[in-house]
Amino acid sequence: MTAIELAVAAPAPKRLQWMTATVREVIEETSRVRSLVIDVPGWSGHRAGQHVDVRLTGEDGYQAQRSYSIASAPETPDLVITVERIIEGEVSPYLAGEVRPGDRFELRGPIGGYFVWTVPLDGHLFLVAGGSGIAPLMAMLRHRAAANSDTPATLLYSSRTAEDIIYRAELERLDWQVGTKVVHTLTRMQPAGWSGFSRRIDRAMLEATCFPVVVRPRIFVCGPTPLVEVAARALRDIGHSQNLIKTERFGPTGGSYG
């Protein structure tokens, strides 16, 4: 192969450009959370854990921009973002409220090379999510399932109530798959006969659910800032290497950037 052919096979990265996204489908996940299936002509594909920036422009030219994790697996043609409605947010009330199929907005991505997991990384996978922080971790679980990976994976997922659990039915199906375990904790209200945890994530809960330190699990934590900081500190205290713990904080309000 000549040098010219090599250059064609591996194009140099380009600076990100804003693209036009069109909403194809709106999926109600919970009363406050929606997933949007979007079409982006020229989309280059993504890796599990990456996000996109969304920019809305008002009639007066005012612009608001937020980041949203990609929830879909790289293997599927659909690009899906999951948005939680933040009451005082600038972008989420539209994306998780008024948006309709056919609507268009500006988007750039995929973004991120740090909070990313791909099947070839192998090893045990331990995921910790709070609220809508599940989105990038769901992309990892979907990617793992689509690639038929037998990497052992455990998800510890904190929600306020059972009704607030995003992707609930899909997580139940995943829990039945060999090598996958889904553990819920409900912090505010639990249904009758609830068998999961009933408190905020703490060290004891992480010790009970995470893989042993000796197997060196890759750990991804995503959610509101307080949850992420408590979980990351406890995991380090348990003995997990800082290098294996990757975090994505959503901010103090528990919303994904509003």
Binding site: R15, G112, T247
Partner: protein
Amino acid sequence: MDDGKNRAMPLDGNAEGGLLRELFAPEMTAAEITCDGCGAVAAVGAINVYGTAMGAVFRCALCDTVVLRLTHTPAGLFLDMRGARRLFVASSEL
């Protein structure tokens, strides 16, 4: 003094990956940055970032030194890296 730190709790550097890509062609959150304050080496995506209306301030997670400051102005984009000793991008990202 408002140095961008008082606005809110920090997010992780990955939150501003898009802003970095306005200037850099490669994906920058996986790049390693060496703090000039304490010598700590960390992924850009792992250090603290304080977003502002005009840009973002990146701080060392260990010693809080400002290692990167990106500011949008009507005139253009400013990058201030006085607090960074070195930025390393792996060949796989180039």
